[in-house]
């Protein structure tokens, strides 16, 4: 096994920052190509007439998931060395809902607001400003909510670990749900475009 390269000590921190920058360029590029620099395109997801967000996100998830899985199967990538964000069930669900609300009101998420700022969207810049304020507020109230933030801690948890089904089976299920979801999303788009725009769009 040779990957993850960084964790096998193949290069140092300085180079890792350059790699971060290059990976970021790729990240920003594809986000913009997908249309994620536009709040209306992003928000459309929640009105069913343009399901691009769902399609792009789940295609990305499926691609990376298959990549990690098969590189691991072929012994090229040590899956155990990848960092998994620890699970805190209740804070993550509450945080998720807040993100959902923020998305409807603001039209972006932190990453896409950076992209939209880079292509000159003033609303993206204001949203980004809001994210700064939100995090600052979080930092200020952190001592008060620290107990809640750390509640229902479960450490590193995976779907296959919790459900006690093999990793490969979960991969298969996710692929099938995603592909089925894409077909369903395209159908919904047709229906709701007609509803909102009379099929003119």
């Amino acid at each position: 096994m040779i990957a993850p390269f960084y964790k096998f000590g193949l290069f140092g921190e300085e180079l890792s920052l350059i790699i971060a920058f290059i990976i970021g360029i790729g990240f920003g590029f594809f986000l913009e190509r997908a249309g994620f620099g536009s709040a209306r395109k992003l928000a459309a997801q929640f009105y069913f007439y343009d399901m691009t967000v769902f399609k792009v996100m789940f295609t990305a998830i499926v691609t990376a998931m298959l990549g990690v899985y098969f590189l691991g199967v072929f012994g090229l990538l040590d899956v155990n060395l990848i960092y998994y964000t620890p699970t805190y069930i209740v804070p993550q669900i509450v945080g998720g809902f807040l993100l959902g609300f923020g998305f409807i009101l603001g039209g972006y998420c932190p990453g896409t607001s950076v992209v939209s700022t880079s292509v000159g969207r003033i609303d993206g810049l204001f949203f980004l400003l809001g994210v700064f304020l939100g995090i600052l507020f979080y930092g200020e109230v952190y001592p008060l909510i620290s107990d809640f933030v750390h509640s229902t801690a479960m450490g590193k948890q995976t779907l296959y670990g919790v459900l006690h089904i093999p990793y490969g089976v979960v991969v298969f299920i996710v692929v099938v749900i995603a592909v089925g979801g894409f077909a369903g999303a395209s159908y919904l788009e047709k229906v709701f475009q007609k509803k909102f725009f009379g099929g003119a769009k």
């Binding site: 913009e32 990305a60 990848i82 880079s118």
Partner: protein
């Protein structure tokens, strides 16, 4: 098709439009595969995922530490983002987000999508849009920290790794969005 676009945009002042006529967005599946490969390369090269809110947290923590060092040193949250001697901005995610800024701009430039404007639904004013953008951003900043990551760090990264918390988070984001979407439809449609 491209000819039409050129004529349509000919009146715009932005000079690059002449050279880079506005193009349609990519096929979502192609863009998704691209994003997935970027995410995969982060796993393979670094053993970690992409992120966005983490970089902003680092910048906020650094800002607080610069203005009020004593206040920052007494707060566990800020301390998480401040290393003792090195410059805290020498952080992987900070550099990654700088890259996002460049990558987004390059993509937008070549597709003729770089323009200074406010994106909004047709029925609201610019001021309303900007106020809601700030409120939305604040909710998202707060929520992302509570959840230990945003759409990039949790949904995209944790989703691919089949991380339990990330999937619960992702479902909650969509649930939260669909829950209130109807009541705020004026903002977008």
């Amino acid at each position: 098709m491209e000819e039409e676009m050129k004529i349509e945009n000919g009146k715009e002042k932005a000079f690059h439009r002449e050279y880079f006529p506005e193009k349609p967005y990519w096929n979502p599946y192609f863009a998704g595969i691209g994003l997935g490969l970027v995410s995969l390369s982060a796993f393979v090269i670094m053993g970690r995922g992409l992120g966005a809110s983490g970089a902003i947290s680092t910048i906020v923590a650094t800002g607080v530490a610069t203005i009020a060092p004593a206040h920052a040193s007494g707060n566990e949250f800020y301390q998480n983002y401040l290393s003792t001697q090195e410059n805290p901005l020498k952080d992987w995610l900070v550099f990654e987000v700088l890259g996002v800024l460049v990558g987004g701009f390059v993509s937008g430039l070549f597709a003729g999508r770089v323009k200074i404007k406010i994106e909004k639904g047709e029925r609201i004013s610019n001021a309303t849009r900007l106020v809601f953008a700030v409120i939305g951003g604040m909710l998202m900043g707060f929520g992302a920290k509570l959840a230990g990551g945003c759409t990039s760090g949790q949904a995209l990264t944790g989703g691919a790794l089949l991380n339990l918390g990330s999937w619960l988070f992702m479902l909650s984001v969509f649930a939260g969005g669909y829950l209130i979407a109807y009541f705020f439809r004026r903002l977008w449609i």
